[in-house]
């Protein structure tokens, strides 16, 4: 009898089956990886275990005893804790308030001092110092993650679910996290580790369960020297086609030139500190780095969404620093934004209305302020056909499409403009392998037609495969400019962590 067992779990959301007959068995004290692609059902399964959703059918056993989880409260009472991918902390409140929120046995009148003392003791035990009186929005991302773990431990968690904890960390911070995880298992904790990154599993896990399309594929121990490729095949279900259809680049004239760019976030912190680079037509320049190192701000400056505090941006020889979004788009710039639903489409509007979003005031769609829906429909039909957007009609609302089709629509809309400069931010985030490859090939095709492409991604693989040149960003600076052929994981990883020639840069 295993320590924790989930048997034949099934969960549907409307017509989509998120988990279909999934079983999982975890021994006490192990670090158990839950491996799978985006949308494989890992998070759903863990949310069921944490009591966020009830399962449609199936049972959960802890120590051979059946659990009935009516809500997260029950899960917490049974010693299950979860650290969500997007931290569930209240930025406006203090650390200690976040820690004790919702704890059973809180007296009506809070004794924060006493609780803070106990919290500090607990933190010291695991070597994770966090000031209990600090407001959470003043903590760094790494500290917030530590706080999340401590929060779960403070609630006496014995089973800790970590949902993609490494996505926001540098490789060095990841090592720190792994050390902490080992320390936790030594003291009797059991850890469930959700990820889709194979090397991490090799590093830290003792066993793993692979999910694919909502089903369990297999469960196996991780032995030193196990075959990563085999795991990958089991995860994606077919021989992974690693190579893209990509010829060597033939860079032409310079399209985008950024010099000495500085930019401050709304809270006054300088996010971009003196960035210089250029992108030439017919090449793909990839920017990699851990989320939150200034990539987002840099792109927002280039696309005109944010005003740089110093420096120059010129597109096709025209100075565009501080220009508005519209003026920049009219220079022949296309933008695939980082967050599809938030920035690229209006999900309540129909396909046709979304097709014209970026050029709604241009001929032939718009004449003298009036829109021609006939012209919009013609364009929309063409894009849907060319970029294989699967839909029933152009009057369908975008929210009814799948994520992959939504992204194809966005990519198609942008590429149909025949841009001189294409800015693609996380173009394949959250998509399945098929859609990812399709979109990556579309971007390469745009390059071959002579577009200059600037791509941002946090996925090392994507950057390394797709880019002709790679820029590594750390702490608002560009650490290096590397040709594709010279890039290795280790090199990029070190640079992403701010290590350059053996020295640590910035603070």
């Amino acid at each position: 009898m295993a320590f924790l067992e989930m048997r034949h779990i099934r969960k549907t959301f409307g017509s989509t089956v998120a988990n279909d007959d999934v079983s999982l068995s975890v021994e006490r004290g192990e670090i158990h990886a839950l491996l799978g692609e985006n949308g494989a059902g890992k998070s759903t399964l863990m949310n069921i275990l944490y009591g966020m959703y009830p399962a449609d059918s199936g049972e959960i056993l802890l120590n051979g005893r059946q659990l009935h989880l009516a809500g997260t409260k029950d899960a917490i009472a049974n010693g299950i804790g979860m650290v969500h991918q997007h931290f569930m902390l209240i930025p406006e409140q203090t650390v200690i308030e976040n820690v004790i929120l919702g704890n059973r046995g809180n007296p009506f009148v809070l004794n924060l001092k006493e609780q803070a003392r106990r919290f500090t003791e607990l933190a010291a035990k695991y070597g994770m110092e966090v000031d209990p009186w600090c407001r959470v929005d003043q903590l760094s991302v790494g500290q917030q993650q530590r706080l999340e773990i401590l929060k779960a431990l403070y609630k006496n968690a014995e089973i800790l679910i970590l949902d993609e904890p490494t996505a926001v960390l540098t490789p060095q911070e990841v090592q720190g996290l792994f050390r902490m995880m080992r320390q936790l298992t030594d003291s009797g904790c059991t850890i469930l580790f959700i990820t889709h990154k194979l090397p991490e599993i090799m590093d830290v896990c003792t066993r793993c369960t692979i999910l694919r399309q909502g089903r369990t594929v297999c469960s196996m121990p991780i032995l030193p020297g196990a075959d990563q490729h085999e795991l990958a095949v089991r995860m994606v279900g077919q021989e992974v086609e690693l190579a893209l259809h990509k010829q060597a680049a033939h860079p032409g004239e310079e399209v985008l030139r950024v010099t000495g760019l500085h930019c401050a976030r709304s809270d006054g912190v300088e996010a971009v500190r003196g960035v210089d680079f250029s992108v030439r037509s017919g090449e793909i320049v990839g920017i990699c780095g851990v989320d939150g190192n200034g990539q987002s701000e840099l792109i927002r400056c280039i696309t005109g969404l944010l005003r740089p505090s110093a420096g120059e941006i010129s597109i096709c020889g025209t100075d565009c620093s501080g220009a508005g979004v519209k003026r920049i788009l009219r220079q022949g710039v296309s933008h695939i934004p980082e967050d599809r639903l938030k920035m690229a489409v209006v999900k309540e509007m129909d396909l046709c209305e979304n097709m014209i979003l970026m050029h709604y005031d241009q001929e032939p769609v718009c004449r003298h302020g009036f829109l021609s829906w006939r012209a919009a429909r013609l364009q929309g039909e063409k894009i849907c056909r060319t970029y294989q957007v699967r839909m029933s009609s152009l009057t369908q609302a975008v929210q009814e499409l799948s994520g992959g089709n939504q992204q194809k629509l966005v990519v198609g809309r942008e590429l149909a403009q025949d841009p001189k400069l294409l800015i693609a931010v996380h173009p394949s985030r959250g998509l399945d392998i098929g859609a990812t490859k399709y979109i990556q090939n579309s971007i390469i095709a745009a390059r071959d037609r002579g577009a200059a492409v600037l791509m941002v991604s946090t996925e090392l693989e994507e950057v390394m495969e797709l880019s002709d040149r790679i820029l590594v960003m750390f702490n608002g600076c560009i650490m290096a400019d590397i040709r594709q052929a010279d890039a290795t994981r280790e090199k990029l990883g070190a640079l992403m962590a701010g290590i350059k020639g053996g020295q640590t840069c910035g603070s």
Partner: protein, 359 residues
Amino acid sequence: MKRICAKASGFFTAAVSILLACVITGILMYGMGYNPLDAYYQLFFGAVVGLSALSESVVKMVPLVFTGLSFAIAKRSGLVNLGATGQLYIGALCTTVVGVYVTGLPAALHIPLALAAGCAGGAAYGAVVGFLKNRFQANELITTIMLNEIATELVNCLVDGPMKDLDALTKFPQSKAILDSAVLPKILTGTRLHAGFLLALLAVALYGVFMKRTKWGYELRVVGMNPSAARTAGMSVQRTQLLAMLLAGGFAGLAGSIEMLAIQKRLMQSFAGNLGFDGIAVALLGGNQPLGILLSAFLFGMMSNGSNKMQMLSNVPSAVIYLMQGLIILFVVGRYLYSKKLWEGLIPQRKSRREEVRP
């Protein structure tokens, strides 16, 4: 096809909401010792039977169309305009100033001028809300309400002071009468039906075309539904919302203006009653769509017209219609009540309480 379904479901929501509101109001009336069937009979007959009743309903509908449009256009851009009342008063005030103190103009000039003044006054007052929001991030809920009170007090003050008609027989605080050259003509003799009705139809048509067929309307809708996508596409959220408030204020101003030039003819304290807030009900019931607004404005016009007859003949206080209107709004905004999902979720609820959870 989908679009037709969406329209049909809009009508379904409206119809069921009206029905539910009538039933509940009826039960309440019965509980208080009135005869609801008689009341509804008088309400309906008082509103539509006979040319004079029907035309009076249309007369009551005209300002509601405008205040409805006022709420709708702001709502489409993502703002809740609770300030139609204030914008209406300022519109009426500006119109009265032009209608009373500008003399010697022919009607062909004086009427448009007076209307334009009302529209501009309302628009400017609406723009204040947009300005405060853009400049200070001031919550429009509170600013609109404050501005309502300020406008109401301003009108109260002016008609009791500088603008007071001292020649009138009564001591009642009211302004001088609008000059004949500025009065909106009647379009049906023997009734009060006036040219404002045509203006209302025109306004609804313009609203429809503006929203669906112009780039500004498109901008407005995108901003209302997804401001960050609007920014990515290079639209200015602030400017668009300011435009929306300008138009919303303009519509509300016109409501006051037409009311003044065609019906009231003298500016008086609190002449508009609940017109401003009724616009919210009109817009909601009409789903912020042009045709819907027209129909629901007519319904509310009917109710307000029929309610007087009802009070006279079946002794039910005319305020009952407010009860009904409140209930109608409730059931329209609570339209989730009619969705299959809710009921599907409730039935297997015995087993697990959280069935309606979404991913």
